[in-house]
Every structure is written in C-alpha cells, then in structure tokens.
Symmetry: C2
C-alpha cells in the first residue's frame, strides 16, 4: 500500500469541495462551513460551476482551474456527475477522493461505483466511500464531513461503516468523555476498506487505539494480516451477528458456520478485541488507548465497599479472569492499610473508612508487586471522603509504583463529585467508569488483547510431505468425468494425499471385486453405496457394517445395490465402497467452509449430540499450526471428553491437532477448487494411538459457466 | 405481618435519634442534620444523656422523657448500649427500631443481635438492621440516615443489603437520572428482611417498582410467596453468583446446584426479574417503574439509522426476543412514512431523513397495531433534526395511540441535545437510554416479567394417591436400625410410596432368596451389592446385569459378595439387590437438594455427558405442578433430545413431568427428613410409554445430637 497516497486522502494539506454551496441546508454548504469552523489550516477550494465566492472563499468552476495542488477532493455532487469530476481530479493530480455522495451500490448502482474506482486507479488516486459522512481529525483541525463538529479530543481513531452512527458517536464523545483523534466514515468501501485503514492508522502518530464499527469486511484475509501486523490495539464492534447466516449451506459444516462464528474466529486470530455493544466499544476503546495489555492471569481488586467488591468478583468470573487470593506476603502488607474488619483477600476491602492514604499506600504496594498482573480499583462515594482526593491518591500511587507494563482501571460509584474525579483520572491516563462491571470488563479486554497477540504469534509451517498434484489430479478427473462431484472414495484419496489417516476405502463395481478388496484391506469391513444421487446412505439401506467373510461381503453387495435401486429407481450408482472397519473410539467431526469473506476455514467439534443438538463447534481461519489446532480442541464445551474427564482416559489430542493442521493446509492449497468439506466421523483413540477419518466428503466449487 | 407496625418503622410520623450529637463528624450529628435538611415534617427528638439542645432541637436524656409519641427510634449509640435502649423504647411504645449502629453479627456478636430482636418482639416492635445506613423517603421528606441527601425523585424503591452501595447509588441517581421514592438499608436483617420489605412496599402508595440489591436472602420461601403475591414489578441484582457454592455436597445433585442456579430459579418462580450489573439495575428499574409488561413475542424496532437497527436486532436475539417481520399490511402502512430507500421490515428504517412527522406517524400507527406487543424506538442524532422535536413526536404518538398495555422504550445516540431530549422523555413516562442495547434489554425485562408472572400462575395441586406415612415408616426404621442411611432398596420404596415408577428392587440376603426374588420380579434382572460402605458399586465389581436364569442369579450372588469383600474387607454388607432390568431408552437424571435458603428443590437434566461434562441441568424450588415440570424439560440445552431431534422419536415428556411433580411433592412432604436425593438414571421411553427410575438414593438429614 502506498501510505503517501492515503496520507493525501486522509490528512490532506489542501481540500477541494466539489459541489460547494452557499445555500444553507445543502451538504455542499455544510462541508465548507465545517472545514472553516474546525480551524482547518490547509487550503480550501470550493468548486462550483458558477464560480464566484462561497462562504468568503474564492470558488472555482472546476478543479482544473485551481491554482495550487489539491490533496483530497470531497465530492458532494450527485452520483451521476462523479465519474467526470473524478477524471478531472485525476488530471489535476488529486491524491484521493472523499466521495460523500450517495446513489451508488447501496441503491444497486454498482456499475457507477466501479467506474469511479477504475478512473481513480487509472490516475493513482484512492477512493474513500462513496456514501459517507466524511473524515474528521482533531490533530489536523479538519472536519471534512457533514458531521457538525470534531469529536472530543483523544488518542483513539474510529472507522465506521455506518455514517449515521458516526455522527451520533461524534456527538456522544462529549457525553461519554471518551476522546478520539479521528473519525472516518468508510461507507460502501468501493476502494479503501478496513484493511487499508488498519494499516494506515497503525502508522498514524496521533492514534493509540484503532476502533472499528464493522457491518461486513471486504478482503478478510488482508484485514487479518494487517491487523496481526499492527502494533496498536484494535477493537471492533461487529453488527449483524444475529443474521440467519448463509441460507442454503451444502454441508453439515456449512450449516454450523452462521455468520458470527467465523468473524469471531477471524478477529481472535488477528488479535482484534471485540466489543459487545456501543457502550462497550467506548469503554474498551478508552482502556485500550490508555493502558497496556494484561500479560498474566492475576487480577487484584481493591475496594472500599464489600458490595461492589462482590459484584466485581462476579464480573471477573463472567469475563474469563476469575479471581485468586494473593500470596500471604501480599495480604500481610495490605493489612497494614485497613482496619481490623477489612479484608486483605481478593477483593481487598479497605472498608468505608478508607481515605486517600489507605488507597494510595495499598495501590502503590499492590501494583508494584510481581504477583499482580492487573488492578481494578473500586470506590463507593461516601459522605466522609472526597472522590477527587481518592482519585489523586490513586494516580499518585500508580505513578510512584513506576509500573508501566500492567493495566489498571477504576470505577467510582457515586454522584457528580465522583464523575468529576473520574474525568480527572481519565485526563491523567487512568480509565475510569461509573459501573464496576465496566472496570472489570475493560481489564478483560486488555487480557484478551494479550491472549490474542500470543495466539497470533504461532506461524504456520506448511507440511512438505503432501501431494497437492495428486489431489488436483483426482479433482480434475472427477470434473472431467461428470458434474456429480467427488465420491467418498475420491474425497478420501484427497485427504490421504495430504497425509491424513483415513479408513482405507476402495470402490468395487462387482461382488467379486468387493471380495478382493475386502481381502486386501483386511476384515472386518464396512460397505457403503456410492452414488451422488444418494446422500443419506443409511436411510437408503446402503450401509452394512462388521462384515467378516467373503460370503458376508457378497451378500452385502447384492443387498446394498438392490436397496439403493428400491430407494431411488433412477439413481446413478458408481458402485459399493469397501472400507476397513475402524475400531471404535471417541467420535469427532472436522470440517471446512470456504467463506466468501475470509476464504478457507476449519471447524472442529465432538460428534453425535455435541454437534447435532448442541452445535458445540469451533472455527478457525485456515491454515492453523498444530499448536493453534491443539488450542482449538479446548475451545468447545465438550473439551473435557478429550482431556479424559471423570475417569476416562485422555484421547490423542496431538494426533487430532496434526490432522487438523494438515486439513487446514489442504483447504488452503485447494481453495480454488473446494467449497466445503466434512470429515465425519473421525475416530480418535487413546493417547499415542492416533485418529482416523472414517467418512469424508468434499464439495467442489461450482464451475462458472 | 402487621403493616401498621412497619408503617411506623418505615414512614414514621415522629423519630427519636438515640445518640444524637452536636459534634460534626459524628453519625449522631449527621442523622439529625439530614432529618432537618430533608425537610422532615414529623417530630424529631434527639436523645442524649446530657439533654439540652441539639441542632436547635430540644434533646432528652431518654426516650422515656419524650412528651409525645415516638414511631421510630434511629439508634446510633454503640452496640453494647442498644439492648437497654431498646427496652426503654419498648416501654415508651415505639413501633420500630432503625438500628444504624454496627458491631453485631457482622463481627461475630450474633448474641447481641438476637437479644435486641427478642426485646423488640417482646414489646411488639420491629427492627431494621443493625449495621445500616438508615431510611430515605422523598414522599415523607425523610432522610433518617447518614447518606448525605435524598435520591432523585421517582417512583421506584430500593432495598439494599449493602450500605456503602446504597449511599453511592443515592448519589448516582442524579447522574443516571433514575429516580427513587425510597431507599432502605436492610443490613444484617436481624428481623425485617426482604420478604417483609416486598410485602410492605407492595402496599406503599408511592412505590411503582421494587428494586433489590441482594447478597443473600433469609427465609427464601416467604420471600418467594410475598414476591409472587406482589402486584408490582420486582427487580433484583444478586451478587455472589461466582461463589464456589456449597463446598462439600453429599450427592451429585448437590454438586450441581452451586449458589447461582437455585437463586435464579427462585427469582423466576417468584416473578422477580434479575439485573446483571448496577447499570442494568438502574436501566431495568426505570423501565419497570414506567412501563407495563410485554404480553407477547412481537417486538418492533423503529430507527433512523441502519447501523443501530442492526445492533438492536443482535441485542433482541441475545436477550431472548428475536425479531420477526411485521405482517404485510403493517409494512404497507409504514412505507408511507419513509423514502423509497427506507425499509418497512423489522427494524423499520425511516432513514436519516426522518423528522418528527415520520417518527410520530409511524410510531402512532405501529404502537396501536394488534400485531405489535412492544416497541423500541431508536434515533441517531443528526445535524438536520432536533432530538427534542423527535422526542415530542414520539411522546405525542404514544399518547395518541391510546395504548397503555404495551411497553415502549427509546434510545437516542448522540450528544447533549439527545441527553436533554431523553431526560424529557423519562419525565413524560417513556424510558430512554443512550445505548440501543439498553433499550432492547429493558423491553426484554418487561417480557421476562410477563413470562415469570405466567409461570407463577400454575398452582401446585398435591397428589392424593401418595403414602407419606409409609415413607416415614421406612425412614424411621432405618434411623432406628443404624446410622448408615437409606439403602437403594429403602430409597426406592419411598419413591414408590409417592407413586413414582421404579425398577422393582428387592433385597436378598442369600443365593436362594435372590433366585426367589428374580422369579417373582421376572427376568432379565440386574443384581447390585447393597452396602453403605460401598458407594461406587461398579468399581467394586458389585453389579451384574442381564441375568436370565436361576443359575446366573446364583453365580452372580456369589461373585458380587466375594468381589465386595475383596474390595473392602470390613464392609458392612446388607445383601444383594435384585432388580428388574428395564429396557433401554433415553437416560435422564432427577434430583433434589434441601437448600438452606429456599428449602426443597428439584433438579432435572439429561444423563451421561450432559450432566457429567456440560452440567446442563435446571432447578426449581419444590413443589412444581406437572405444567411447571413440563416447562423445565425445555430449559436445558439438550432439550431437543426429548422433543425428538433429527429423526428421533419424541420421548414421553408427560410421564417425566408427572414424575418430577410427584418427586417435588415427596421432597416437600419429607423436607424435615431428606437432605438430598438422586434418581439416576431414570429411563424415559417413547411417547405414552412412560419412564422408570432405575437407580435412586436418598440422603437423610443428619440428626442433631
């Protein structure tokens, strides 16, 4: 990415407003007015066919008439004029187009949108929008938008896919006291998208935290890569998680994906922290922009009220950072700063008698102690103590501790005095909230940030003992032969080409061939109908298990074929698969979908009711290293089953992790061919005993006609 | 309960402050000052041994010296003096003691606390506290507390078990703009507890919503009864849900109970809505005090911004009220009040162009439409529209619709203008929040309220075909014979006495007796060791199944006895149980614990991994009607298994519901004897095929020595 071009677009030294107007109420009026009122120090060039003067500035009929350079052109003329204006901008040497105008893909005019981007790219320009509010930047004193004013100053940057929400959030920064340096409306994302914004903001000197409102990503892979490479915390509020997902999924795995699970996985893997609602986006943005990640599990809570202490304890458990007692020495020391009826456990209850000194001494000691990884300080307003005094004590203690690599957050419950003290704390770098739950939640965000960063640090090292060419050959042959898709036998051969253990399966077309294969594979065997017209093999009487002799195989062959014909008269029957019958173990299911946003993914779950009833599965964007795959195994509720719960032996999770990792490589290598896959069931045995894929399906992408 | 006495305590017409003082900083000073400053119109009698004058009021050496009647005495003298003062108050005819002083059970002085209550009851007085902040009431202009001022006026009443939290919440009412008529500190609950408060507040003319901060209840049954009888909405924030539960539970069921699940069940059954944190308590209190319950499932959302619309849709799903599209006719009508690019689906998107008229017309139409059960109205502040104007439109529409039996809530996202508009809305009876998620959450609260009320409306009609006497006789015999507790055979006999189907089980002491019993019961049979020293029968080789002949029974008897002796040499062996082997079906588990707060409960879950790994169980306070029991069956994640998921036949849920209901009667009738029970497994068959208890345990209460 050319950061310089984006600098021109997003931090322009000069702006043309194409469609500038002197008529109040028009957007072309508002944008010029907002630029003037925000104190923008670059050149402003109103563009209007009539020329003359607009809001005291000389207006030009065309950008081509402007004497100086133009970095960015804010476009507020009707959509149909934009291509022509864009071309003029290109000729003028403009770097970026801020296309505020609507009337493009959001109303079905994808053609117009594509045209504008093509023109822009022809001239090396980038396009923000269309259908946006504009851009706002405090450090550049630049309000090139129709949002009425710059947000409260701060060190975060908001990128929003919803313009209405951006305007509303802009106003609410003053109410919520969470500051932003920039707010950027990204609209239809015809060109500049979230991936670009993350990369550019990571280089922006005035941004400490990147905050996103996301309805849907374009180019999920590049977003993930840029997010993973970013040095700054990124937080996203993703809307649309309740959407009913891709309507008609072809496979089992597809139907389990929905829209939410894959986004969750992608954000986790990219080191992006998520927000649960608007308040939470503000709360977490504040903490992420002020505090470092929490590198360990030990959260200490210090309070002057038992009630809020217990509430915060509940919150800590809810948000995945349950409290532990501090070591004896810590408790001993803390006891010096509280009355007899206080408590030095966790939460540390200084009691309602606690004034500035007790807070200051205990915070300073605890924050510096190596056992403590993060600190939440709670205060209930009392008549006897002054919230501002407590706030000053806390800030002095944090500063005196010299600690800069652990997070701290604060909650004061009270009235206007507490509000004022919290505003002061925030100005002094300590995030503070009126709700104890929020103070704990943001520490959890800082913990999630550290965990996600750890997870993102496992690079995928491709397996070299795989035979991609063989896999492609099978697919090619199958496609050439028919449109019926891959059979089980073919699918399994592809899994085998990627070094995955499969229950050996061969296709027989006659009784005698079936017997030969069974003898070769070894008894007992399972036999199954192979027909792309029969998906539910058991229902069709197309499966026979535990066959131990040539006679049984012969009989099974005949029965299966006649059952299949009875089930569906005109079924196209390829034959009967003969497969070694794997000894029984624990059933799991692996799968993949080729997601339109993120590309190939892998899924893991336990078999049977865990998937059928409980939908207890976890997704990752592929590929995953064996370490990441191993971590997936603990993600599901049924994880104890593999770990060896209640006297059961532990299962071979290493073998499963290897299998998953190879699986993820397969779906990536063959992403151009494979749409969805299931390996169901996969049987996993006791530790060091391995795992085996018993049944498998690969659904190919449809060929574009 | 004598409401008149509580009126004297909680809405006193005259108050003595025992321990009143003229020294600033003393609580005895603060309470008198607060009474004066709050404008209290009753008589205030400062009591101080020195007499004279305190803060301009005549002081008395003793309450006995006061000329007039005293309704309530606020006590701020040290704990050790309280019994004597209480006796004087009794002699004076005081109605209630507001014991602000601490130093009682919270520091181990349960004796002193009991003494005070005994004295009070001797004179017909009630005791609030000890260890409390006091009472605050706007309608009585009475601040008899050391909290610095009365809360923002409103129609809710807060009862708090934490004093520090009450003071902090008092102050924060002004920040959050949620008003309360009363705030009552309940402290150690030596006498007046939550059950009393709910009953009394339900009769209080100035209270529309009862809001509770609960750390733990006393007398859970009476609380539930009073809550169920209350005509007003009740909301509770319960802290301590992360507590690790009753440490050493004797049974399986006990270990599954934890502290949270039983409280959740009790609140649901009592019609009490729960809050998840402090903000949520304020948010939901506001809505419950202003709006009626939501009687159906159809929530309609009207918005001017797609972004917040989608976020609210996600919230609706999260809170259990997923959106459906409105009928065509509704959509047709709504389309008249939006531009072409708006959407009349759900959410209804009026677009950013929507001004007062569109809001007003669409709200008025939608709110009055029979399909709509509840309405959430969202607004993103724009530069072009005036939030106050929108607010007035909404209020006018709601009023003009004439609808009073459906709830509406509002969220404006924006700055100070939106805040002001929302304050106005709240003053005009419409709850409004800065966060769309909150507006949806409170509608969910109003839906939960309606659902809980429905659930509470199923009375339990005791089964008459039960033999309590026979059950008691078995327990009596067992207790007389030994301290070994009930055997499986005895336990099952008790279940049978309550009309529950059990796999017939008899105790054999010899081989021949075993054979006789097997012939009588019918083959196949299962045989199991009966010894209170051997709990894990299978591990001891003490179980043999599928025995089909006299010979097999003989051999099994010998093997079981010798295995048991090998397993534990000195085991006290009662014999070998012979039991009919029930045909296989779906395994479920029923159980009960006798909870210290709520008494007998029942639990239901699916067997195997659902309980062992996933802890997927649900509790109810016993007894439960068959209808309530039937509803329990849908409460667990594994519910589809019983309903007949994925081609399985539905199971006999009616039989299970009957069984659960009888079970609940058993544990209630015998609550004085039974501590915990398990029926595990219970096998349930296809519809109309019944269910049978295969194994059962009853653990008796320990006898007090």
């Amino acid at each position: 990415m050319n950061l310089e071009v984006l600098n021109g677009l997003l931090r322009p030294k000069s702006i043309a407003v194409v469609g500038a107007s002197d008529s109040e109420g028009k957007i072309g009026y508002t944008v010029v007015k907002n630029l003037l009122e925000s104190g923008y120090e670059g050149d402003i060039y109103p563009i209007n066919p009539k020329g003359g003067e607009i809001q005291g500035l000389k207006a030009y009929a065309s950008v081509l008439d402007v004497p100086g350079d133009i970095d960015a052109a804010a476009m507020v003329v009707p959509a149909k004029f934009i291509p022509d204006v864009a071309r003029e901008c290109g000729q003028k040497g403009v770097r970026g187009l801020i296309v505020i105008a609507s009337g493009f893909s959001e109303v079905g005019r994808d053609d117009l949108e594509t045209e504008v981007v093509e023109i822009a790219h022809e001239f090396g320009m980038r396009v923000l929008g269309p259908n946006i509010v504009g851009i706002l930047s405090n450090s550049d004193k630049c309000n090139a938008s129709f949002a009425p004013f710059l947000p409260l100053e701060g060190k975060a940057a908001l990128v929003s896919q919803s313009g209405a929400l951006l305007i509303a959030m802009d106003a609410s920064t003053y109410i919520r006291r969470v500051g932003f340096d920039k707010m950027i409306s990204i609209g239809n994302m015809s060109d500049v998208n979230f991936a670009d914004m993350v990369e550019w903001l990571d280089h922006d000197e005035n941004t400490d935290c990147i905050s996103l409102y996301v309805e849907g990503l374009r180019d999920g892979r590049r977003f993930m890569e840029n997010a993973r490479n970013a040095q700054k915390p990124i937080i996203a509020l993703k809307s649309g998680t309740s959407a009913h997902g891709a309507a008609a999924a072809a496979s089992h795995t597809g139907s389990l994906a929905g829209s939410g699970k894959i986004y969750d996985a992608a954000f986790d893997q990219a080191g992006v922290v998520m927000a649960s609602n608007l308040n939470n986006l503000f709360d977490r943005t504040l903490a992420l922009s002020l505090q470092p990640p929490m590198q360990g599990e030990n959260l200490l809570i210090i309070t002057n009220g038992g009630g809020v202490g217990v509430l915060a304890t509940d919150s800590a458990e809810r948000y995945g950072i349950p409290l532990h007692f501090a070591p004896e020495e810590v408790q001993e020391e803390l006891k010096k700063h509280m009355p007899d009826f206080g408590s030095a456990k966790n939460p540390v209850d200084l009691t309602g008698m606690a004034g500035r000194d007790w807070y200051q001494d205990s915070v300073q000691y605890a924050f510096a102690h190596e056992w403590v990884d993060g600190l939440v300080i709670l205060y209930c307003e009392t008549a006897m103590t002054d919230p501002m005094d407590i706030a000053r004590g806390i800030q002095a203690a944090v500063e005196a501790s010299g600690v800069t690599d652990k997070p701290v957050s604060v909650s004061f419950v009270g009235g206007e005095r507490s509000e004022e003290a919290m505003r002061w704390l925030v100005e002094n770098g300590i995030p503070a909230y009126g709700e104890p739950d929020a103070a704990v939640n943001v520490i959890a965000a800082l913990r999630e940030y550290a965990r996600n960063e750890d997870m993102a640090a496992h690079p995928f090292d491709p397996f070299t003992d795989v035979d991609e060419a063989a896999a492609r050959e099978i697919i090619k042959k199958s496609r050439a032969a028919s449109e019926r898709g891959l059979t089980e036998v073919e699918s399994k051969a592809i899994f085998e080409a990627y070094g995955m253990p499969v229950a050996r399966t061969r296709l027989s077309e006659t009784e005698e061939q079936a017997v030969e294969l069974a003898e070769e594979i070894g008894y007992p065997v399972v036999m199954k109908i192979v027909s792309s017209d029969i998906l539910h093999k058991s229902d069709a009487g197309g499966v026979k298990v535990d066959l131990n002799s040539a006679d049984e195989v012969r009989e099974a062959f005949t029965t299966i074929i006649s059952n299949a014909k009875a089930y569906k008269e005109d079924a196209d029957i390829q034959g009967v698969a003969v497969q070694h019958m794997a000894p029984w173990g624990t059933e799991v299911i692996l799968g993949s979908v080729n997601d339109p946003t993120f590309g190939p993914t892998v899924m893991f779950g336990l078999g049977g009711i865990f998937v059928e009833i409980l939908r207890d599965v976890t997704f990752r964007i592929a590929p995953v290293s064996p370490d990441q795959a191993f971590a997936m195994l603990s993600d599901i509720n049924g994880a104890p089953i593999l770990e060896g719960a209640r006297g059961e032996t532990p299962k071979d999770r290493n073998a499963l992790a290897q299998l998953l990792s190879r699986y993820s490589q397969m779906v990536c290598d063959l992403a151009d061919e494979i749409q969805e896959t299931d390996a169901n069931p996969v049987i996993v045995y006791e530790e060091n005993e391995g795992a085996i894929i018993v049944d498998a399906r690969i659904i190919l992408k449809k060929v574009e006609q």
